[in-house]
Chain length 129, copies 2
DNA sequence: TCGAACCCTCACACAGGTGTGAAGGTCCAA
DNA sequence: TTGGACCTTCACACCTGTGTGAGGGTTCGA
C-alpha cells in the first residue's frame, strides 16, 4: 500500500511515517515512480510504534526492541549481543517501573473520580477509608 | 529546605526544580534574601512529578492531576469542574491504555530474554509454545 | 576579610517528536 | 490535455524537558 493508505489506516501523518522510516523503525520498498510501497503488516507495526512512543520510549530504543517482539523471533537469537541483552533488561525494568507508577497514579485518579461522583450524588463527602 | 537540599534528596537538578515551579507543579516560599524555601513534603511531590513525567505525561496534565492525588482531597471537591472531570477521565483512560501497552511489550521483552537465556544455556532454541 | 559554597535571574542551546509548506514529479479521470 | 489527488525531498519551525553558563548576590567558616 502507499503512504496515504497507511497513514489513514494508522491515523498517523505521512510526515511521521517518513520519519519512522528515516529512524529505521519501518521499511518500505519503492515503486518504479519512486513512491513508497508498504507491506500490510506495517499497519500493526506502526500502531505498536505509536504505542511505545506514547509510553515514553525513544525511537532509538524502539528500534532495538521491535525485532524481539516479532514472531518467530528465533532468527534474532544470533543478534543478541550481551550489550543488547543488558539494554533490554534495563529497559524492561524501566517499563516495569513505569507501569507501577502509572497504575498507582491512575488508581488515585479513579479513586478521586469515584469520590467526586459520590459527592455529587449525595451532596456530602464519602466517609474516609 | 533550600533548593540544593531538595535537589540532592530528589536527585533532580536545580534547574528542573525551578522549571517545575515555573510550571506550577510545586511551590516555594522565599526567604528574606530571595532564596527559595521548600516544605519537606516536596520531596515526595517531586519524585511523583518525575515519575509522571517519565511515564509520558506533560507538565500541563500533571499540574491538573496532582491536586487529586493529595490527601486529604476533600477540599478539592469544589474545584471539580465538569471539564476537569472529563479531562481526568480521559487521562485515566489514556493511562490505562499506556499500562496495557507497556505491560504487553514488557512481557514480550521478558519472554524474549528468557528465550535467549534458554538458548545460551542449552545451545538450542526452546520449543515453540 | 577573603574564598568557597550557596543562591538568584536570564538566556541561549539541544534533542526528540511533530507540523507545515515549498517546489516539483506522477497518475488518472473528465 | 488539463485539474486534482497523490507522491517525492528538503527545510524551517514549534514545543517540551533539560543542560549550561554568564553575571551577580548572600552566607559562613578560615
Amino acid at each position: 500500500m502507499r503512504i496515504g493508505e497507511l497513514s489513514a489506516r494508522t491515523d498517523t501523518s505521512r510526515r511521521l511515517l517518513r520519519y519512522y522510516e528515516e529512524r529505521g523503525l519501518i521499511v518500505s520498498t519503492r515503486c518504479a515512480n519512486g513512491y513508497r510501497d508498504y507491506a500490510g503488516n506495517l499497519v500493526d507495526r506502526v500502531l505498536q510504534i505509536r504505542g511505545l512512543l506514547d509510553a515514553g520510549l525513544p525511537t532509538r530504543l524502539i528500534k532495538q526492541i521491535l525485532p524481539c517482539l516479532d514472531k518467530p523471533r528465533v532468527i534474532y537469537f544470533p543478534d543478541a549481543t550481551p550489550e543488547m541483552i543488558a539494554t533490554l533488561e534495563e529497559e524492561r525494568d524501566r517499563m516495569t517501573e513505569r507501569v507501577r507508577f502509572l497504575t498507582r497514579n491512575r488508581d488515585a485518579i479513579s479513586e478521586y473520580l469515584a469520590a467526586v461522583k459520590e459527592y455529587n450524588l449525595t451532596g456530602s463527602a464519602p466517609p474516609a477509608p
